[in-house]
Symmetry: D2
Subunit: 464 residues, 4 copies
């Protein structure tokens, strides 16, 4: 038995099991796990005193995305380099179909954005903004032929992305037949629109009104509604960027009665709070994202939900805009509703979740891996190629140094954005090495891969 690379002496952490074993890599795949694998002819990488995780999978990113007259700061190059440095080896980004366009057109545009630039593997969800009958047929084709098996719909942003319940329900019924899955932005856009208009009419323009006009109840309501529609359509459903504890309870209740409802949350909802909107001047704009940050106390409910499987995934909703310059947050200096929504996070997901979760005693290391890699892979049809350390899987893996202390800062991060929401926060635990299909893309913390080194992943349907 010969390997190209042997990772020696690490503690392998999977979604359910922890093993002291070597990992033998041949070509792009994991060939064997063993107590004492032969190393003749192989590059040997020591993982003594370190953990070995399957590469992180971030199923919610927005790279090179137009939004409200500008474009996100990170494109597929800067975003994926940053992701790799943070231990993420695959992303699923959101392609957008605009009203009146067909789905394929949106997909082509996104293929062009990513190709030759992505430093890690990538796949696409498809955002649908209208779904007349012929578009429903295109959904089938994406699932069957294009490896795009998930479709995002919005219950918010009236006039832009929002679709009505009949449209949602029709889309869901279609996925019952074609094997796709609906991903939902669950906030009641009608309520929010009225609140925004009232706030502006009263002269409330500061960033904090972004949060005050998007109440937790508007999210809980929409979550409950999306679940009810999915339950009536008898299809699985995935709630994106769930932020409110009450919304989580709706997911939990559904799961308890056997409904295949799933939800992700994001580090921002676990670490930050609406107090950040009270920062001086316009600094609150850094935290303008949808859903907004929530009151203190909410985050512990989400941590509890991650532990108890009310929530299944941690993604980032990475969507970066600079604070300075004409293309960023400043667009909304005089009107909070014009602040581009979103914040950077693709690089810090594993660092934050490991520190707050594992070091914080809230999550076992297995659960951590399950949340950032294995379950994302399974839910979105990448498993067992991705999300696994087992023989046969892609050799995407992270050698994690649990003792390494990192201070998060815009000064050192790889994202092309001029601030970091966690500026100055110190965490313990970080990637030492990262492998993408057997090649080392991060070496002792430095990016050693290349733009264009990532490939497009055709996805299957969800595995159980």
């Amino acid at each position: 038995m010969k390997f190209d690379t042997v990772i020696k002496g690490g503690t392998l952490v999977g979604a359910a099991e922890t093993v002291s074993a070597d990992v033998g890599i041949s070509g792009e795949r994991i060939a064997a796990l063993g107590v004492d694998l032969p190393t003749d002819g192989a590059e040997v990488v020591s993982a003594a005193g370190r953990l070995v995780f399957p590469g992180g999978i971030d199923v919610h990113t927005h790279l090179d995305m137009p939004f409200g007259g500008t474009t996100t700061a990170d494109d597929f190059e800067s975003g994926t380099v940053a992701a790799a440095c943070g231990g993420t080896t695959s992303i699923i980004d959101f392609a957008i179909q605009y009203r009146g366009e067909d789905l394929r057109r949106g997909l082509e545009v996104w293929h062009r954005k990513a190709e030759g630039r992505a430093a890690i593997d990538y796949a696409f969800h498809m955002i649908c903004t209208d779904l007349p009958d012929d578009r429903l047929a295109e959904m089938d084709r994406l699932v069957r032929d294009e490896g795009v098996t998930s479709f995002k719909l919005f219950m918010a942003y009236p006039g832009v992305f929002m679709v009505d319940d009949a449209t949602i329900f029709r889309a869901m019924l279609r996925t019952r037949d074609n094997g796709g899955m609906v991903c939902m932005h669950a906030e009641n856009g009608g309520v929010i629109e009225v609140l925004v208009q009232r706030a502006l009419a009263q002269g409330h323009t500061a960033p904090k009104y972004h949060a005050l006009t998007r109440p937790m109840s508007a999210e809980a309501e929409a979550t409950r509604r999306a679940i009810a529609l999915a339950e009536m359509a008898r299809v699985p459903l995935y709630i994106v960027h769930l932020s409110a504890g009450d919304a989580m309870e709706e997911v939990r209740r559904a799961r308890d009665r056997g409904v295949p409802a799933f939800a992700e949350t994001c580090p921002q909802y676990l670490f930050l709070s609406d107090e950040d909107y009270e920062r001086p001047g316009f600094e609150g704009a850094k935290y303008v994202m949808s859903p907004p940050l929530r009151p203190r106390g909410n985050e512990e409910r989400l941590w509890g939900g991650l532990a108890s499987n009310a929530l299944q995934v941690v993604s980032t909703d990475h969507c970066s805009f600079c604070m300075t310059g004409p293309a960023g947050k400043d667009l909304g200096r005089d009107d909070f509703s014009k602040i581009p929504n979103g914040a950077p996070g693709i690089e810090t997901r594993l660092l934050l979740l490991y520190d707050g979760g594992v070091n914080g005693g809230r999550l076992s290391p297995n659960r951590f891996v399950d949340l950032v890699s294995t379950t994302p892979a399974k839910l979105f049809g990448l498993y067992p190629r991705k999300g696994s350390l087992q023989p046969g899987a892609d050799a995407d893996l992270v050698i994690w140094d649990p003792a390494k202390v990192v201070t998060i800062s815009a000064a050192s991060h790889h994202m092309k954005v001029d601030y970091n929401p966690y500026e100055g926060r110190t965490v313990r635990g970080a990637p030492a090495h990262v492998f993408l299909r057997g090649r080392r893309v991060v070496t002792e913390g430095r990016f050693t891969g290349r733009a264009g080194g990532g490939t497009f992943l055709k996805r299957s349907a969800r595995s159980a």
Copy 2:
């Protein structure tokens, strides 16, 4: 102390108390209750062995209403005569504002329908089908000047009555200021429309598909959503014709956390079930109403909710269409979606609820009175003039014979409709005499009042 009429020896049943006392009536009002009231000069009506209730209040009727190209079978004369015979002395009917019209116009039309015809007292809710800004101002005027303090909105019937969440939320915010209350038809119209279209496309035209395309979940979802909107607007909310146990649980949960959410159910949901849609031929059309009848088992949940105050009111949603003739149910013989929605019930509400509730051991006599009279009066601003047997209240009262056995039948009912949904059902307990403002309008079971004897009731806001 002198009275025009003394009701002697009855057992007075109020919402909380039961008293053995005489009732002294002077003019249109109750003047005194007493252990042994003087009868000199008064007409004495014996109530020995009988119960005395405040007159029933039916807060959900549709008389002389256009619907889907036809008009209900009962107008204000036939409907209110039937109501009186069943022990109901006040109704609140629904005036309709059509799109583009102002609210006042709808109100005027309904005043003309009722005036000079109604045999009992009446008031109006206002159905709103669009609410641009100027219409919101008209809402204020109706509350302030016209005694119309409740507004019904629809989450169902897209293209006809349905309004979107932003409209609902705006209306609710307006009632926060003007003191009105929103009444909600809570079914998810988008889902239902898709299901109806699919059923018809599959050739399913029989009446039972009416029920199969309006699932309980579509009602529970909309109920939860309406409550969430009201909670965010911080206003009370009234759910009309609640039919599904799961929808009731949403109301209960809201009430448990202190939200002023209220709901009515109707006798059809307590006594009938979706098995009635399986009747031979087109007979199921008799039971086509929205929400539809629900599966067996559901009705006991509603009975439980009436007892535990998860539900506060029993109304009828009386909306009668004949089975024979061109203007009725037959319009949908080839397409269930064209069957006029609704069923008669204005006459049988107290009979059914007393028999099933009080005789059936599910409700105390006090709770019965509370559900059919006192709480309706309080919620809709008629109390203490109506809904009460106390001194100062209108002398609307029912002398109830708890031993009288009645067999319900279209052959004997006073409603102008050619069938009765409860045909052949025998109940125990019925009105012997009914008084409207001191005048006897039913005497030993026969109508002795007159069309036009009823007056319009200007309503106040809800009392606590």
Copy 3:
């Protein structure tokens, strides 16, 4: 129509209705309510600008009770005079059966304590400390012959009052046949005993350890257990002095599924908190009662439960011990477990609940009356003689001055105890006059009745 007394121009507040009417009293009873009752020959008492309530009923008092080697500070004279001054006209006190004694013996002892001393009407519950088979037969006799229709059992105080689950269950099954009702002190005595022993072993002797060794979970657990036993026995159940929000949720859940479970709370749990145990020196001993005061935040849950009918009654658990002198709280100066449990409250119940509830916007005046008078009367078989302002009821009534401001103080209270837990608290609303069976026992705030003026009330079974 002639009356001995006419109360003119008041606003009569009942459990469900509010009426502007006069009250005519003949002998000991209310003879009539009327819009303008004749006053010839009657004493006229003006109630203009005032409210008229049925006399308060306090269903949980301990007067002249031996406890832990001492006796309560208030006997039937001082306690009932204080009660009257606070607007309470009937109490139900707890007679005690000691192990090995028969129930009748306990009852006789309590009759002797009350007779000739009580200034208001009184009845008894029976505390049972053992229940061999022959004692179960005595239970029947008490219900049938003695007007004692409720039995209190303890899940706490091992070695003194505590009985095991088998005993509780046997007693419950017996009440199914004899029509009595079990009242439960619901705290897990086993857990508490272990915690007390551990605290003492660790040298923790201060009053605050009383609370720390009686956690809310121990109450919630026992409440759930008592309900489960009652549900299995298919009998109603009454939880005394419920203090913890989680215990209340157990009652609520039971009621929601149709179980006839009832619970009272007491003003101390609505107004005070465990912060009172932090008072300097030994002052925390004033608040040593069981269950103990709970953390801040808990009280609002209870207020919510009073409004939504998760709780049905407010009683006092009046059980007074002096702070000074050898017979009181000082017994536990060196050992919190020896502090006599209990606090005074019989005089301040209506004042506190009206101010916090009605003035505080948490309860309607009707609900206030329901909680302090009507429902207590119904649950414990005193209705309609007590708890009602309707014709035929005992003329026990309170003319309440809603504008009167009172500062609560041991310096002015009528209770024979040297402190008041609410010392210095100012409330608005107080009794102006109090009538007991037609006689005025409080006149403009002063006691004008007499010791011995109260009579024993034989109670019936619970009315629905």
Copy 4:
């Protein structure tokens, strides 16, 4: 790389992952997993078309146990041979401490029962029937020195096994310090005793009264109580043989709020129902076990709980008594309360759960493995030595033939008991080969191991 045995071409199923790989065994351990492991010098066992599971772990067995004057039919030899044939390679049996004895004595007795007889590996829990202070110190020693880290207490069987709440709470507090865990038989023994006495007094002696006197509520109550005690003691808790859906909801609620509560159910509660007590003659006695079989409908709730992780383990509570002969079920022919409680199941656990769960679409193969092997190993301190297919683990594994059809019958089973509760039931999926620490103990369905081949397992504390 050389192996003693290579299992080729199987599909390895773990608690979270499914892998197509070979397994290389060296000595007693798994040495490697790999895509194409070298086989030179190794025995090669084909697993093509078959699944490979870690050996089953049955954490609830009663072998060679005295009960009610008799002894179970299976001893450690017959029981473990049967277990092996069913795919189980480790058991945890219950040693018993009788009142007044010390714990070590009970342990010694059980060591003697097992040593030299067990055909698979085994460990012990310790049943405690009294716990004075010195016994608590013995608990520490068992955890620290003897590898016995779990203690079973009974809330049922008064006078035999039942301990009171204070004892339970003291034991729990002790495990907080010594790292052990309490396992609870959760039924309210007091209620059951009263119901049994009443049934017998009424002449009800047939087997079905066993179920009628042990209501589901008595289990739900005790489960809630045990959880409350554990929550107050801040320790983990394990509920054995949970049978009632309502009891499961108590576990779920606790877990949702972060309490480390765990529960097992058993195949009998998933496949059988109280209808089995209606079998003719005395046949119902076969199903007399505690808790008893529950009404139809309950089992689907449990299946749902297994899927959603409200339940964590499936064990057997194997406790076999023959129907014929003087030492078995016949002891209770005239009095259901004398029927020895228990039924056989050690051999059929995997067969039933795989067929009902995996074939039935209720459980994924991973969840199946988690329930029967991995989580039992983790909860009871056997992981990663047991419950895992990963390198370094004991080579306990089952090569499972998913196509093999088996008809369960006493005629063919290996248990030494004269009936099978599932007689005649046909299932699909069964062990082809079973390995115990690298040695084959079942070969193509036949037992090829030996009595005494099993060793005692010293257990650690629960792993996360």
